[in-house]
Symmetry: C2
Subunit: 339 residues, 2 copies
DNA sequence: TTGTAGGCGTTATCAG
DNA sequence: CTGATAACGCCTACAA
């Protein structure tokens, strides 16, 4: 690998000054002839401008960072995909970090931003602690948070509307004849966990259904294994539907039910949240509340890009509205339940 | 956002020279007292070294790039996860790009590497064209290719052993009493498609099973929709097992079979490849050949890191061995088939 | 051990 | 329109 040609080489090769070469290549004022000569020289030498040197000079890296809790979770995958697309279309590179659901890691990333390797950050924390919000107020580069950040924190923010999403699911289940709707949630100290718990109680009440604490169970994580385990805590024969806080939990619950001979949706309806690709893939296909993870990623990226243009404008918060996607797992019973 | 402190500020604050400040912070020769003073000054001012300036000086960006065809495919997700972990542990940041299964995009990424924004690249192309291999010979930074690159191309390389993986699946199906094993593949002009097609024919023959061209069908893509569609091309009643070139295809095939009243695995066994998380999640759970996508990602990252240390050593190729993971979808029949 | 000075490759300011 | 020159922030000979 030979040493790459620099702008100085190009200038010499074209017989012009360094400054002229730079201008000719960057579209600044230069004569036709100059532009031609420099361009040709650049092509002949295979010159490509060095990103690092350019960044140092102009004070921008043309990189944006994205930090998600778990790179493997389908929700984050679709977020990432949207962020990647948006960011790249705007001419930025994407620097990815996986924080492993660990607040300490997230703080470390915030600190590392001080090195100036990225012009901005999109952060999607699983848990929002005081420590984290504190670290969010005076960051070296603009940040957009995906998740329910307290309103007082002045930071651009994109959020889902979990309570509304839960309500959509509850109303749907009620309208298809279900009355005792259980809820399998993940850890309450997480962003989605707390929002969905609040939403569940509110939605059950406003639907005029009985609120039975035994119908609310907690899984230890947002995984299908945890969902399958949590299903054992559901009170046998006392519910006819289960809402799950995400699709992975729902798949786990469906498996547990199937295993003990309960038929979905004939005996019990199951509804998930996030509407990941999984919902299409499992059997039966899963009714799920689309909370717009892809849209959230896109919005977050746009917010960040706009912020880079105007650093002074007031923080903007945008919420994306949920949409229920009905599939097989919540179909109406064919005839009155037999259990 | 106030302007960040530079090393010059720290030096002045500590009352020492710029050079001393740099040395004190970088662990070069300096007195105890000097180190203390500079460290304190740095902390007081909240100094963090600028990555860009440092990169320009030392000629390394501390960034590695990863380009995958589709950020959403579970295979790539686990690869990415492994790469991210390995790369970060070595102190590098990860720059991610999604190429969209497009050779032109891949070439564009190779070219853009000339800007020097990363110290190396891991590339996992879906198709390996002549144009691509040509572009691989004289790259500005080291590259590791994940996939079956021709042996003559001198580039570090990690590959799966698809033929062996296919053989494992065929042997397993044969040993559980299946005789007419169909094969649903993806596009033949892709890296996995071509390798698995070759593997299938070889494995069927060496298993002493009849090779019937009607049993080989092609899906238009490696997706579950394409798999479901392709299942319609399988010759009814002429096979008792289906091997699918990846898990997504397998899920699609299972759905198609279930839909027409065929029971898996009682009537027909289904086996997938890649052993993605999907295999655990679908119903019935899917027997799948683990081709080590995670391990490949890890190996590729390690290869790249080693290469950065020794740019002269001969290109290394490493292959990861497949492992069959048996689940429900290929269980032995309970009694002789009724069809 | 410490300080001075030069340069990494660009862009941008200023005269000509 | 063009050319010399000064930064950007850091590291590292080299000299003291």
């Amino acid at each position: 690998m030979p040493t790459r040609p620099t702008l100085a080489h190009v200038a010499r090769h074209a017989g012009v000054s360094l400054a002229s070469a730079s201008r000719a290549l960057n579209g600044a004022s230069a004569s036709e002839d100059m532009i031609d000569r420099v361009r040709n020289a650049a092509v002949e030498l295979g010159y490509v401008a060095d990103a690092t040197a350019r960044s140092l000079k102009v004070g921008r890296t043309e990189q944006l960072a994205l930090a998600v809790a778990d790179l493997g979770n389908p929700v984050y995958v679709s977020m990432m995909r949207a962020v990647e697309r948006t960011v790249r279309a705007a001419g930025y590179r994407l620097v990815l970090s996986s924080t492993g659901a660990d607040t300490a890691e997230e703080l470390a990333i915030l600190r590392s931003l001080g090195h100036g390797y990225a012009d901005g950050l999109i952060l999607s924390p699983l848990r929002i602690t005081d420590e984290l919000t504190a670290a969010l107020v005076n960051t070296p580069v603009p940040i957009v948070v995906i998740g329910n950040i307290p309103a007082k924190i002045p930071v651009d923010n994109v959020r889902a509307n979990s309570p509304r999403g839960v309500a959509l699911a509850i109303d749907h289940l009620k309208s298809t004849g279900r009355r005792r709707i259980a809820f399998v949630n993940g850890p309450l100290d997480t962003v989605p966990g707390s929002a969905r718990a609040r939403g569940y109680e509110a939605a059950i009440e406003s639907a005029g259904l009985p609120l039975d604490p035994r119908l609310q169970v907690l899984a230890t994580e947002f995984t299908h294994e945890a969902g399958e385990a949590a299903a054992a805590d559901l009170p046998h024969n006392r519910y006819d539907a289960v809402l799950c806080a995400n699709d992975l939990l729902a798949v786990g619950v469906m498996r547990a039910l199937t295993r003990i001979g309960v038929s979905v949706p004939q005996d019990i309806a199951v509804v998930g949240m996030d509407d990941t690709e999984l919902a299409e893939l499992c059997t039966p296909t899963l009714t799920s509340v689309n909370l717009g993870s892809e849209r959230r990623g896109q919005l977050a990226a746009q917010l960040l890009l706009e912020r880079l243009v105007d650093r002074e404008r007031a923080p903007r918060r945008s919420a994306v509205q949920p949409k229920l996607v009905v599939r097989e797992s919540s179909a109406k019973r064919q005839r009155p339940a037999r259990r």
